[in-house]
Amino acid sequence: MKVGVLIFPGTWSHQDFAHVLQDVLGCEWGYVWHKDTSVAGYDCLVLPGGFAHGDYLRGGAIARFSPIMEAVVRFAKSGGPVIGSCNGFQILCEAGLLPGALLRNTSLQYRCRWVYVRTESTATPLTRTLAPGQILKIPISHGEGRYFAAPETLAALRANDRIVFRYATPDGRITAEANPNGALDNIAGVCNEGRNVVGLMPHPERAAERLLGSEDGRLLLESLLAAATRP
């Protein structure tokens, strides 16, 4: 079981993932540089947060052209688990591995804060070991996190249980106040049709230790590791 953590120029959450994977979860991991062309040897891939290639145009818009992305797409198409958090989610959307787009927050400002999300689907590698409806306390940190999709896409997401997380109040209600960025339908995370590619705006790696205020993010990563372990 080995996790590949991707680094694009401008990525900054890779160290945090590495820290949690190694020091908290004690699993094998390695960095994958964006100029590489192979992800051989990895059982699961993580696209971390940051500003890949500066994101001056639009979050993830340039990163999808990085050489490594062809290998990532192949890995995803063959059913390998791929997780994108924050900028990683944006890149997965730009690369066409996930539907929809992430627009500028309605506040027009960057937001870094703790939010609560409700687990809407447990049929993904990231949420398999969670309880349906489980509330998680995890921070967000982004300026472009407002999930948006065309009506027919949204309908398909709903119909196929592909909305994975929604912003909620601490007691699990889906309200406008609980929505930190204006995301459509309070959507914080979605998965692809094959259910092996999951994108979410929150940062699970920042909520993996009690000292830092929450261990809920660790639950997600543990689920991922369990799912990616080959029988």
Binding site: P9, G10, F51, H53, Q109, W114, H203, R206, L211
Partner: protein
């Protein structure tokens, strides 16, 4: 730009060089300088780079302690924190550019201080931003505040260095001259610290990063002048930041510095290529020769003068070991950064600038970097003090509705929640933030150890205006107290000294007195100065800002689990006050907000008492007896207690409390007497904390207990109760309504 044919007295004057200074230049060179050389002297001897007015005063500050590995004089200070690790930190100002173009001015301030930290081999892990603006009721000040906060947010978030705190204070005097101070801290293995000292004759000098353009020419000179009506015309001298390229520079430089191919490295900040070249040579006791024909340019037709003075951002200059060029170039290529060998280290002590074969400037490096003019400027006690010191505060009426006064104070932008600002900053990156912004000090864990770092920035311009010596002392004391309240032992400070025009004797007196006060306080607390920055000429149309020394304090927690926050934790806990409230309303936020007065004497600081209060608080925290600890300062006891009730992340908690003194009611509530800390403790632990206070000879008074949904306060001559929801509402919307 075209090169003038002749150096005239007018041209010399335009460069801000006095006739005396020009005579000095003639003596150093033994000839007349050419235009390029004149420009080089002009920036290096500017106030911003040479500290010519402040140097004599700064020399009096304490800079040594066993934990100090590097004091002032390098790009940043270095402090040993044990476990083989060192912290590297510094604070700088970017005031002038931020007034002219707030977003980019603040953004490039962040970029500059980050480069100062990774230049030393340390990974930058935290930023703090102390800010000062005019009243936010004024549209221009709101524009500046939004622009500055947006610029810090845009640059800091993208570059991937968390902004974990800061402070914000508004006052009329900053309306035409906001202050943007930026603090950065990095961490490095103690034996891997890099210095900016060029050595090894023949070693290659390598330029890396962004291309050089015409942006920022004479930025350092601009920062050494006061503003006038034409200031807004100076937009071209403000640079534009590129956080993405800076991120690449951080990663590439740190990757290189993990090996041993690099001899010295310095960023090109103020005075760009000029400053980095002559300072590295001067510190190393060597010379450097560079060829401008090799410098990557962004624009055509740039003359040597422009290339040498450009302040284009995101550029570094480094000296590598001879023969190791290929591996250096390989790392920069990996990160898609342009790197070029532009020169070499020489043994002749000269900064020699060539363009192809033609020498365009040749100046002894040491003369530029170290032998600039030093002024002992005339100091004179300002006349206004005779009036403020003797102001009759007894004549100030006590308001009938003290509860209203408390709500008004809580809603003052200077006291209200700064959440609208810091929620725009990524303050959680790197998984270190144990105590987030919004408490007395932010606490970061040190990964791989059980330790923590507490960071606080503080400085009260109003106190310093009313008594510069006490203001300097109080700034250090309050920063230390903040760090202590978080459970940390204060270690060392950096500082940013923001003052008016030093050529005015009363400004120079303010400066000298404030530095004297800071020095006395630093000696008392054993927290030396590791470096910092002086920003003078903070004036617009002849009106100076409040003299504003800002202290950046770093403290160490041996056990991160002892990190303490300021808010009450549980009903039934006992509230204690360490220290005592005196009848001191002078210079208070209360006098300003409720009575529109800025007068009197600021609180007196007894350094011995302050030390004892801090030691007692720390001893109680280390004994595991303290549930919350909060510095009692701006707004006085009533504001501190209200903050204990409502500033936590959960639901607010009420309390039934009495004041500790029997002065006039508003002084009981709002006096800002120094050396006070509000603690809350479990009922069973109160006696032990009182005993600890007794051992340190510190007054310790039980004020009451936590509980209920109202803040009920009473004392001699008054009694009131406010619903905690109303208290939280006032505090949380005070700044929000202007910056939300």
């Amino acid at each position: 730009m075209r090169e003038p044919a002749k150096i005239t007295p007018d041209l010399v004057a335009q460069h801000g060089i006095t006739p005396d200074e020009y005579q000095r230049i003639l003596a150093i060179l033994g000839r007349e300088p050419n235009f390029t050389e004149l420009g080089i002297f002009s920036v290096m001897w500017s106030e911003h780079c040479s500290y010519k007015s402040s140097r004599a005063h700064l020399k009096t500050l304490p800079t040594r302690a066993p934990c100090i590995l590097q004091g002032p004089g390098e790009n940043a200070g270095v402090v040993d924190i044990g476990d083989g690790l060192a912290i590297v930190f510094k604070m700088e100002s970017h005031n002038h550019p931020s007034f002219i173009e707030p977003h980019q001015g603040a953004a490039t301030g962040v970029g500059g201080i980050i480069r100062d930290i990774f230049t030393m081999g340390a990974r930058p892990i935290a930023l703090l931003d102390p800010l000062r603006f005019g009243p936010l009721t004024d549209a221009k000040s709101r524009f500046l505040a939004r622009g500055v906060v947006g610029g810090i947010s845009a640059y800091g978030n993208a570059v991937g260095v968390p902004t974990v705190g800061g402070e914000l204070f508004t006052h009329e005097s900053y309306a035409g001259n906001p202050l943007v101070n930026v603090f950065c801290l990095g961490i490095a293995p103690k034996d891997r610290i890099f210095l900016a000292r060029a050595s090894g004759e023949g070693n290659p000098v390598i330029y890396v990063g962004a291309k050089t353009g015409r942006d920022g020419i004479h930025g350092a000179t601009m920062a050494s002048e006061a503003f006038d009506e034409g200031s807004e015309e100076r937009r071209p001298t403000v640079q534009v930041g590129d956080p993405f390229r800076e991120k690449l520079l951080i990663e590439a430089c740190l990757e290189l510095m993990a090996g041993d191919a690099i001899v010295a490295i310095q960023d090109m900040g103020a005075a760009g290529l000029t400053c980095s070249t002559c300072e590295m040579a001067s510190r190393g006791g060597t010379g450097i020769e560079i060829d401008l024909a090799k410098v990557p340019l962004r624009e055509t037709g740039m003359i040597p003068y422009e290339v040498m003075l450009s302040e284009s951002q995101e550029r570094m200059l480094l000296v590598a070991k001879r023969g190791r060029e290929p591996e250096v170039m390989q790392v920069f290529a990996k990160w898609d950064l342009d790197a070029v060998i532009v020169g070499r280290v020489t043994g002749d002590g000269l900064m020699r600038v060539k363009e192809g074969d033609r020498v365009v400037a040749e100046i002894p490096a040491r003369a530029l970097a170290e032998e600039g003019p030093v002024y002992h400027r005339r100091m004179e006690r300002p006349a206004y003090l005779a009036e403020t010191e003797w102001a009759d505060l007894a004549a100030v009426p006590v308001p009938e509705q003290l509860d209203r006064a408390l709500l008004a104070l809580l809603a003052s932008p200077n006291i209200a929640s700064k959440l609208p600002v810091w929620q725009q900053y990524d303050h959680l990156l790197f998984c270190n933030t144990v105590v987030e912004p919004g408490s007395d000090a932010v606490v970061l864990r040190v990964q791989g150890t059980g330790k923590g770092l507490a960071l606080a920035a503080d400085g009260n311009g109003r106190y310093t205006y009313l008594d510069p010596y006490e203001g300097g002392k109080l700034a250090v004391a309050e920063a230390a107290r903040n760090v202590v309240c978080a459970g940390a032992q204060p270690l060392a400070i950096t500082n940013c000294l923001n003052f008016g025009n030093p050529e005015r004797p009363e400004i120079m007196w303010q400066f000298g007195e404030a530095v004297r006060g800071m020095g006395d306080a630093c000696r008392a607390f054993g927290t030396p100065v590791t470096g910092g920055n002086v920003s003078l000429y903070n004036e617009t149309l002849g009106t100076a800002i409040l003299p504003t020394p800002i202290i950046g304090m770093v403290g160490l927690l041996d056990d991160i689990r002892q990190a303490t926050t300021q808010w009450f934790k549980a009903a039934g806990d006992i509230v204690l006050l360490l220290g005592e409230t005196r009848d001191e309303l002078g210079g208070s936020e209360y006098l300003k907000v409720v009575h529109g007065l800025e007068t009197g004497r600021p609180p007196r600081l007894d350094l011995t008492r302050e030390r004892a209060v801090q030691a007692a608080c720390l001893a109680a925290i280390r004994a595991g007896l303290v549930r919350s600890a909060h510095d009692c300062a701006d707004g006085g006891l009533a504001v501190a207690l209200a903050e204990c009730c409502v500033t936590g992340p959960g639901l607010p908690l009420g309390a039934r409390l009495a004041t500790d003194s029997d002065h006039r009611p508003d002084a009981q509530l709002f006096a800002e007497s120094a050396s006070r800390i509000v603690l809350s403790v479990r009922p069973d632990d109160a006696a032990r904390v009182e005993r600890i206070a007794g051992e340190y000879r510190v007054p310790c008074r039980r004020l009451g207990e936590v509980g209920g949904d109202a803040l009920a306060l009473h004392g001699r001559g008054f009694s009131f109760s406010l619903p905690v929801d109303a208290v939280r509402e006032a505090w949380s919307t005070g700044l929000w309504r202007w910056l939300g």
